[in-house]
């Protein structure tokens, strides 16, 4: 027990000092108000939280959560197969495979986004190609809409899904699958009943990382979405910059964090029920 405390202590102290204290500042500011010129004055008020309850902001929040859920789903559909492939590569090629997937994300995100603009814009790669082939007569509006935003988000967050899932798949005991096929299970059944449940920790970690990260994104809606949508990331960004309303921005951030935390806890509880079942099956198999 002592060993556990010792191991977790450095990280805990780090987070308490470099994260906890700044968070206390944010919480304090969320109960403050602003002077006409944007300074923060600490007179206790709930006005910022009340303001969040206005329909305009609730709608933005719901839109953001919906976008984040879609992004998570799409990233999962792309990330799981990719992670599976890498995990099934000959051992010598697995790490290079992972790094190959990561390399694009070490290149500056802005220039990659601008490269997407070159590909998707009305005189861009895709439209020029399709026009030349005669498949369309007018360029397709591939940019500056919600689909482009989704594409941008998936593109930005894919590694966060791939890596945790790879980590789970890689440790899968192949003998379980062999046993299943010996017992006459179809490959898809084996996947559904054995592989997928056993890789749930990775899927959970990946989904949560992607979901949370997409909640706060503001660059993608600006570059790929033409800044035409107001997601909560943009809203909070605005509060600290052009609106100079740090108290409202802080309150929004706290609410965002709190609500997302609740969603995560619910998600984990649901998973635990699933895993409980799997563990029992595993014990029986032994």
């Amino acid at each position: 027990m002592k060993k556990g405390k010792l191991l977790v202590a450095p990280a805990m102290f780090w987070l308490i000092f470099f994260f906890g204290i700044p968070m206390l500042i944010v919480i304090a500011v969320s109960f403050a108000s602003r002077t006409p010129y944007g300074q923060v004055i600490f007179n206790f008020t709930l006005a910022n939280y009340e303001r969040f309850l206005e329909p305009l902001y609730i709608r933005i929040f719901i839109d953001t959560v919906f976008t984040a859920l879609c992004t998570t789903l799409i990233t999962f559909c792309m990330g799981y197969p990719l992670a599976y492939c890498i995990a099934k590569l000959p051992h010598k090629w697995q790490q290079p495979g992972l790094i190959l997937v990561m390399i694009p994300f070490w290149i500056n995100f802005l220039i990659r986004s601008y490269a997407w603009v070159v590909i998707l814009r009305s005189q861009g790669l895709i439209n020029t190609l399709l026009l030349k082939l005669g498949w369309i007569v007018q360029p397709l509006p591939l940019l500056y809409n919600d689909y482009a935003v989704m594409l941008g988000m998936v593109y930005a967050l894919l590694p966060f899904m791939v890596l945790p899932i790879y980590v789970s798949i890689e440790q899968l005991d192949v003998r379980l699958l062999e046993a299943a096929s010996d017992l006459g299970a179809m490959p898809f059944t084996a996947f559904r009943k054995i592989t997928f449940p056993l890789t749930l920790p990775g899927v959970a970690a990946g989904s949560i990382l992607v979901f949370i990260s997409s909640l706060g994104m503001f660059v993608v809606p600006d570059v790929m979405g033409g800044a035409k949508s107001a997601l909560i990331g943009n809203l909070i960004q605005n509060q600290f910059l052009s609106a100079r309303d740090w108290p409202f921005g802080s309150a929004l951030s706290i609410v965002l964090a709190a609500l997302a935390l609740i969603l995560i806890v619910l998600y984990y509880k649901a998973l635990q029920k699933q895993e409980g079942g799997v563990d029992n099956e595993e014990n029986l198999a032994h």
Partner: protein
């Protein structure tokens, strides 16, 4: 297994070494006068990217035997947030017009010692005491320009004359607006004959309902890559700064730029010194240096924006003086209204702006 441990150990030593070096690098900048190397003073400059001719900077470094640290930011609000939250480690900053008045109200700027900046009088009279800094005690105009309508002559046959031309249904889906609530609402207010600093709810409501009808036509709100959108012909018409119009024109000769008849906003980037700056005198020397006529000409030819230095005219190239885009701003300078800090009004603007962005 042992190989990995050796690698980890090496990494550990490397990390510690870097930390020591890194920490050393981080703290030594705080005491520029004690840098034993060559007793050089350091000028910490915080500005927009590519805002100075590198040759001019090098000349200053040589003349005053100092080193310039040129750090960059991309918008005024980030500058303000950083200075507000963290205090000044910079000696010279470049806030825009309204930001100067905000910073003065928030007591974030030092008063300039005008006796150390005699070249200030070289600046053209109309820009010497702008409404955001009437005494000229806190800022000096560096670059200036106006917002106007930019259009592609290939697709927009009639030259636009009014802001209302943006609403022309023929341009549906090809309109770009700047991604800035003061600029966009200022434009809509001007279209209706109001001041672009208005906080009157009725006037803002009218501006907002106009913008609501424009919103479906907007291809994108963009301040940063608007030039590229016009060069690549993604957009046909929009709002743009005069200096940017000049750049766009260089890469696409079909571009035209006009100041609409209702008037527009005039903006300026300035020099200012944050409170607590460690090298105030050196900063003032820098400002003075920048307005020496020959240096001005060299500098503004490089960055391509309007030159406020009257005395520099004789040193400029004909090409620069005749640049059609820059010339538009100079000709119509009286049509411009400076943006003011509107205090509490900004919350109202932000609310309208958020609502505007949620329109599908």
């Amino acid at each position: 297994m042992t190989k990995k441990r050796i690698i980890l150990a090496l990494l550990g030593i490397f990390t510690v070494a870097m930390l020591v070096l890194g920490c050393g690098g981080g703290t030594s900048k705080q005491t520029p006068s004690s840098v034993a190397k060559n007793e050089k003073q350091v000028l910490n400059l915080f500005s927009w990217a590519d805002n100075f001719s590198p040759e001019v900077l090098a000349e200053f470094e040589k003349k005053y035997n100092c080193k310039i640290n040129y750090d960059v930011f991309a918008n005024n609000e980030e500058l303000l947030a950083k200075i507000q939250a963290g205090g000044a480690q910079y000696d010279l900053i470049q806030p825009s017009d309204y930001m100067v008045s905000t910073m003065v109200k928030l007591n974030l700027l030092e008063k300039l010692d005008k006796s150390k900046i005699p070249n200030m009088k070289n600046i053209v009279k109309t820009l010497q005491n702008p409404s955001y800094d009437p005494t000229g005690d806190y800022s000096v105009v560096y670059t200036w320009g106006m917002t106007g309508i930019v259009y592609n002559k290939k697709y927009v046959e009639d030259m636009p004359t009014s802001w209302a031309d943006l609403w022309n249904p023929a341009y549906k889906g090809r309109v770009i607006l700047l991604n800035d609530n003061r600029e966009v609402f200022g434009m809509a207010l001007k279209k209706n004959g109001f001041s672009n600093n208005s906080t009157d709810k009725e006037q803002l409501d009218k501006a907002f309902s106009d913008l609501k009808t424009l919103a479906p036509s907007v291809l994108a709100y963009d301040t940063d890559t608007i030039k590229q959108k016009f060069i690549a012909e993604e957009a046909w018409i929009g709002t743009m700064w005069s200096g940017d119009a000049s750049f766009t024109y260089k890469d696409n000769k079909d571009i035209g730029f006009v100041i609409p008849k209702e008037g527009t906003l005039i903006w300026a980037d300035t020099f200012a010194i944050p409170k607590g700056a460690k090298n105030k005198e050196l900063a003032e020397k820098f400002i003075n240096f920048m307005y020496e006529p020959k240096i001005s000409a060299q500098n503004y030819e490089y960055i391509g924006y309007n030159d406020p230095n009257e005395k520099a005219k004789e040193f400029h190239s004909q090409e620069f003086l005749k640049d059609p885009m820059l010339k538009v701003a100079v000709d119509d300078v009286n049509q411009g209204e400076w943006l003011k800090d509107i205090g509490d009004g900004i919350t109202l603007y932000d609310r309208y702006w958020t609502e505007l962005k949620t329109i599908k």
